[in-house]
């Protein structure tokens, strides 16, 4: 299979994730979209590592996975706290910071 297909697929995944982030307002869905974007990066890196034949890209993938996990920990804690405070996880509902 030509390597270009992987890049097209990952580009599509990234676009879907970005569109989701911009359109959806549910914090969990938003969060899933960010994860989708990160995973599209992983796919790109893995395919490029295959293309260039070095370990660099694959090593980067591991670091991205670790960082994504750390982000999940912080993000879910924030979302849970938000839910306990206001009973909703719609990111548009809390609007105190306006001028």
């Amino acid at each position: 299979m030509p390597i270009g297909y992987y890049f097209i697929l990952s580009g599509l995944m990234f676009t879907i994730g970005l569109t989701g982030v911009m359109l959806r307002r549910n914090a969990i869905v938003l969060f899933m979209c960010v994860e989708l974007m990160l995973n599209s990066v992983n796919l790109t890196l893995a395919a490029a590592a295959r293309m260039w034949g070095g370990p660099d890209g694959q090593v980067f993938v591991f670091f991205v996975i670790v960082v994504a996990a750390a982000e999940v920990v912080v993000g879910l804690a924030l979302i849970v706290n938000l839910f306990f405070r206001r009973g909703t996880i719609d990111v548009d509902v809390p609007q105190l910071l306006r001028f």
Partner: protein
């Protein structure tokens, strides 16, 4: 002395040399953050934690001294002795111990940075040059001018933020044990961002300090505004990181390397993959523009700055900006010099929009923190002028500008903390009426810091703007400098309006007076002194910035 020997493994894998002294300041601060976390976990049994860690500190320090690293060793020994002493001295005030420990670690980090700087400058024939190579971890970290100057700015800002926020956090009952460790860890992340010389390190460092800041922004768990700021910062920040990361991945696709200098060389000899690399460059610009708050990507800044606890906002404004610009400088000047025709016009236009838009919106704000947020956006525009100048003068100008901005904004936020402590909720312009008569010291220092932010002589901000504008004119960006001056005039109007409200209007006697704790007054005083000192005697540190620019490869 290179502590880990290179060993050839089967195959062509090589374990890189680890030159520990290259990141001695970061090691010290990280160690302190971990110890503080341990002490916090061991509630009531501090001695069980401090005594072993003191022994470890003594042992490691002695070993470092015998290895010839006298300064880092000495600092480690001092730290080891100081820890249990603090534990004994304030057995019931563990938050005081935490603050002192964090402050000592940061002061030690500043000393170590000075030592590193001297060591690198003495490259000719001195043995120190072999102790401190210019790059460590097989080129993943660079010990160059950007790194040194950002270390100074970041550690100094963090050092001032800790006493600045101590009393404030206690008043609001959010002085939880994780504050100092998180501040220290995010400072380390910021410095690592400034030293990062490959894409992996860059990304990890960015996430280390961002994750710590997401938590710090939501520190006031009972305050819905703080929660909202934290959530907004997190959502926008993680999206920006993902975009930046995709840009990095595309750069890797185009060049086949993760190391910034190699990417820079490869991008020069690029044929077919030029579109991919241009796309990567665009995404990286979006991601990093978000972190330093350039205008189309600035929308998170006012909300987050307004909602976060004021001392955290001060830290974000002063230190995050310095770290973000360090990464921006290194990315564009080391990795993308061959794509200059693409990014110089784009960044120039972004800088112009940023300066005008930020200054314009700051005019119509009533909340003081929100106004300073827009002012911080404006300042990102000025600092970008030094980047698009693409010269040593521009590089040192940006580094220097960030330092002057950091001290000015820390002083201003310190005064806001003092005013905020005695009243609930936000500080608006109305709250400042007649402050010059009821509390001349606070009003005077606030006015001084605002004058520095406005860029009027004889303050640090004036020299900062002067240096950046000069670099811009030298590189033929006169139009951008004209816009910069124009925006400074608009900005001066709202800074001076605050001063006018404080000194010309009558005071409302029912309003409580601002109150400053010892720590708060100390750090405000230091910030104000620095504002004046850097404005009157800029040569010393300006020279440092110049040598720093020359050190960048």
């Amino acid at each position: 002395m290179i502590l880990a020997q290179t060993a050839d493994l089967p195959g062509d894998l090589v374990i890189p040399d680890v030159a520990w002294s290259s990141f001695a300041p970061e090691l010290l601060v990280t160690a302190m953050a971990l110890v503080l976390l341990l002490v916090a976990v061991a509630k009531g049994r501090e001695l069980l934690v401090t005594v072993p860690s003191a022994l470890i500190g003594l042992g490691v320090g002695t070993w470092l001294v015998t290895e010839g690293l006298v300064v880092p060793g000495g600092v480690t020994i001092a730290l080891g002795i100081a820890l249990p002493a603090l534990g004994f001295a304030f057995p019931r005030r563990s938050s005081m111990v935490q603050a002192w420990g964090a402050g000592l670690a940061l002061a030690g980090a500043l000393v170590l940075t000075g030592w590193q700087y001297v060591a690198v400058l003495n490259v000719g024939g001195d043995t120190l040059a072999t102790i401190l190579p210019q790059s460590a971890l097989a080129g993943a970290l660079a010990n160059d001018g950007i790194a040194f100057f950002t270390r100074i700015t970041v550690y100094l800002s963090t050092l001032l933020v800790i006493p600045l926020g101590y009393g404030y956090l206690q008043d609001r009952r959010i002085n939880r044990a994780e504050v100092e460790p998180l501040l220290l860890l995010s400072a380390v992340g910021m410095v690592a961002l400034a030293t990062a010389n490959d894409l992996i390190t860059l990304f990890i460092a960015l996430e280390v300090f961002s994750l710590a800041l997401y938590v710090l922004a939501g520190l006031a768990r009972r305050d819905p505004r703080s929660q909202e700021a934290s959530l907004k910062y997190f959502v926008m920040g993680s999206v920006a990181s993902a975009i930046l990361l995709y840009g990095m991945a595309l750069l890797y696709v185009a060049t086949g390397s993760l190391s910034l200098p190699v990417i820079g060389a490869e991008l020069g000899a690029l044929g077919a993959l030029r579109t991919v690399s241009a796309f990567g460059l665009a995404l990286v610009t979006v991601g990093i523009g978000f972190k330093v708050a350039l205008v189309p990507f600035h929308f998170w800044t006012p909300d987050v700055y307004q909602g976060s606890p004021s001392n955290i906002t001060a830290f974000m404004a002063a230190a995050t900006k310095a770290a973000g610009f360090a990464a921006l400088l290194r990315l564009y000047l080391v990795a993308f010099p061959n794509l200059q025709t693409l990014w110089v016009p784009v960044l120039s236009v972004l800088a112009a929009i940023t300066m005008l838009y930020g200054a314009y919106l700051a005019l119509v704000q009533r909340d003081l923190k929100r106004m300073l947020a827009y002012s911080s956006i404006t300042h990102a525009g000025y600092a970008t002028i030094g980047v698009v100048a693409v010269s040593n003068a521009g590089l040192s100008g940006t580094l220097w500008y960030l330092l002057t901005y950091a001290v000015g904004t820390l002083g201003a936020f310190g005064c806001i903390v003092a005013i905020e402590r005695t009243r609930r909720g936000e500080v608006t312009l109305v709250d400042l009426r007649g402050l010059g008569k009821t509390s001349p010291a606070t009003a005077g220092i606030l006015a001084l810091c605002l004058l520095s932010l406005a860029g009027l002589p004889p303050t640090a901000g004036f020299v900062g703007k002067l240096v950046v504008f000069q670099a811009g004119i030298e590189s033929g960006l006169t139009w951008l400098v004209v816009i910069g001056v124009l925006s400074s005039v608009i900005a001066a109007f709202f800074y001076l309006r605050i001063a006018g409200v404080m000194f010309l209007e009558d005071a409302d006697p029912t309003r409580p007076l601002p109150s400053a704790s010892t720590g708060l007054s100390t750090s405000i005083a230091i910030a104000a002194t620095l504002v004046v000192f850097l404005g009157v005697q800029p040569q010393l540190l300006l020279q440092l910035a110049d040598t720093a620019a020359a050190l960048v490869r």
